[in-house]
Point group: C3
């Protein structure tokens, strides 16, 4: 596939500087671009590359001021990053095709399931009784959609996803391979002999619109009621969401983080990787949590930034962490001081003795 600068400028409604006939056949990063590549400049850190890049076309912000001549054809747009993302999407749609539709064989679709228009059900997928797949849903090969599950319009379930009975997914949800939605919450009542009795988990998982769920992430069903993932939430891979958790709208969580039972995360939070959050607490809207932090108490003030395990205020934590690295030196200073004070005390005691004579 080849595109001209003119075609791209038209698509992005951008202003062209240079050769309208310049052609590209690949997308690349500005620092790695070669002849025939299209790239973008958004981060000023990379501005120097614009003067040396071998790229054929570079998308830049309309406000960019050049400080030297440029050999490359530029396309000026309002937001270079966003425009490039649009191009990536176009490119992705072209290479991905329109997606498959229809029911591939062999697959298992219960006669009691309700299947919308333009649905794809891949081979070896299982759609159980009373499941409802809205128009445009794609169930890739080898997935499992349990009894009474409902999946909203245009949602894409990649290969090998398992959705337990009764869970509800909204529109435009993306679930990556290996994710498990609606497994039993981890609930056991201790018995007097030291063993545990399983607490049946009769709730479900509700996932609202525009959520993306990463590969091998697990979201447990509620004991009663629902584990809720609000609209626009983005979950990375290998995340654990326990029973009865609620995650607020547009919150983003990086890989391998775990959230314990009944905790409520606010909206617009940004949570790093490998974070742990205990159960039964509330995290205010806009909270930011650094990677590997351990949060053991509710966060009541919005837009707080946390760090460390146990987590506390980010800036303070950086100071504590810096001193931690120097603890041997601190200890030495203390030791030295103890010696000095001991000498002083001794000296003073002699003085006093002499003085009082």
């Amino acid at each position: 596939m080849q595109f001209t600068a003119q075609q791209i400028a038209t698509l992005l409604q951008g202003r062209l500087e240079g050769d309208p006939a310049a052609t590209v056949n690949n997308l690349a990063k500005i620092e790695e671009a070669r002849d025939g590549d299209l790239c973008f400049l958004s981060n000023r850190k990379y501005e120097e590359y614009i003067y040396s890049s071998a790229a054929s076309i570079i998308i830049v912000n309309e406000t960019l001021q050049l400080t030297a001549p440029v050999n490359t054809t530029l396309i000026r747009v309002k937001d270079a990053y966003s425009s490039f993302a649009t191009l990536l999407e176009h490119y992705n749609n072209i290479i991905s095709g329109n997606g498959k539709t229809g029911v591939e064989q062999p697959s298992y679709v219960s006669p009691k399931a309700r299947i919308g228009a333009n649905v794809y059900i891949g081979a070896f997928s299982y759609v159980d009784d009373n499941a409802v797949l809205a128009d445009g849903v794609q169930i890739c090969p080898g997935s499992f959609v349990g009894r009474d599950v409902r999946i909203g319009k245009d949602s894409k379930i990649y290969a090998g996803v398992r959705i337990y009975q009764g869970c509800i997914l909204g529109n435009n949800v993306i679930v990556h391979s290996g994710a498990i939605i609606g497994g039993d919450g981890f609930g056991f009542a201790p018995l007097s002999d030291g063993s545990y009795k399983k607490i049946a988990q009769i709730g479900n998982v509700v996932i609202e619109d525009d959520v993306e769920i990463g590969a091998n992430t697990t979201i447990d069903r509620a004991t009663m009621g629902s584990t809720i993932i609000r609209h626009g939430v983005k979950l990375d891979n290998l995340i654990q969401i326990a029973h009865n958790v609620e995650i607020g709208a547009n919150t983003v969580i990086a890989a391998q983080t775990g959230i314990s039972g009944s905790t409520r995360i606010g909206k617009n939070c940004v949570i790093g990787g490998q974070v742990g959050i205990v159960g039964h607490i509330q995290i205010a809207d806009g909270t930011r949590i650094n990677a590997q932090s351990g949060v053991s108490k509710s966060v009541t003030v919005e837009n707080t930034t946390l760090n460390s395990s146990p987590a506390f205020d980010y800036k303070s934590s950086l100071k504590s962490q810096a001193i931690f690295r120097n603890l041997p030196e601190l200890q030495n200073r203390l030791l030295k001081l103890e010696e000095t004070v001991q000498e002083l005390t001794a000296l003073l005691s002699i003085q006093n003795t002499e003085y009082k004579k």
Copy 2:
């Protein structure tokens, strides 16, 4: 489904206070209950709700003393939590049905496999040569049961579980979706050129009765001998159990914890989420390990509680963590003291000089 207070009291062998004809059609938490809901009160923290709850029936401990009139029908039982768990289970059995039985098509069952009575093998499941499925076993769709695997009575393997060749599961074992049992242990011999030679892992995994294994948890086969999960163990999601580990009876482990090779965990331990335990150590019976701890040494005293990474005594760790948060203040105090002592020293040296004149 509707139940009367009388029916429930009879089922739970409880004592009814209020309207025997009160009906419920849903289970709920006391703080969220509405008309038509049944809930329970066990934690005294929630006692206030009993006077304001809109629930139709509340299960309470027989020892509960009311301090004000209650509008709701009460059922008094020995242990409200345990009785409610019983009800959840009943409810769950009703909504889940009796479970499927028989071999769904298409599936692959080796003619050399031995299948008991009332077994369910879901579509797209694979049961390899010489596998033995005891009576009542359920293999949900899309699971893999390797050669020579044995699964005991009434065990339930959810959709998309993989059990490698030769592993043995007891009775009443529950394995959630995506769990991998018996993958190769992580064993490699370093060669002189910096590369690694794989050490064949010829052992297996043995899981005893009444174990539950969470979604996407991985349990590796032993190099030789067995990785062993003793009866009654409960493992949450995304846990890693390395080769030749042994986990003692009725030990409970929360999500995303990892246990390295050849470590032996005692019985009745409670291990939090995201804990790491190094290889080749022993953890005594009844050990409790706080979330995100890192255990690098054997625990020899039973019923120890550990915290922090590297882990040490829980109470001490809380003190250290509190001081960690105040390290900048501690450092300031030290600095101030150094200055004071310097002044004192200077002063004393002058004095001495003068004094000795």
Copy 3:
């Protein structure tokens, strides 16, 4: 299966001491061996067992000097550990058989896929358009091989692996069950209303020869270009590799570690379990990172050893960690010193007053 000491000595090109007709039918560890077992002695820690072991045959280093009589038949070889690994492999090949070949039904193989000689495609596996499986590839049951995927000679894909469109695997690669290769990188552009726009991930994953990937590990495709796993890398279970990461040759990573986007790990590194590494940094060749460390800055010096979160020099970190445990005592010493200094100051001020009178 039974083997004589003579057969084994011949196979290993070892020197026999004892009964050439001694027979074994099992491999075991020296500390657990019984009659009929073959074991090895490599670690001098276990040397005492050689004099008491009930094993029928023990493989030892040719340099081993006996200090007492031994009842067992010995086979002396250059490197006992390596020879035993060879035996494990032989044994494993025997019990595993030659592996299956051919296409099991039902499975889905696109007519546009290219399948080499002696390939095994297990039932319920899906091989999409233009996928290329080289000679000797094994795709175990229920796996998914996406469009344009290429898998090199003799690679083994265990049951339930998902490989997204366009990814490339080398020769002799082993991928364990539940691993997800090529899921979308976690890339979203924040919009002004607080929601996020997905950045299409149009790159792929490239895995070179002799790599092993553990169960339920996830490796994301690059935004553009490739996420690269160099030859000889060994990844344990439940690891997260983000988009555009590169991992150098013969690097070994233990379970549950996560590596964030665009980070480049050198070759011959050894990374422990539950380590977190931030995005966009470089880790020098030969770096060793202790379990649960959090690496937030590039490592520029080769063969550095890191520990703690945030990570710093291993030896220093051990000292800081030791002092951390004693922080309450350190704080007490500081407090005591403050009191002493206060007394000294008071005393000195009196003295001065008196002295100056």
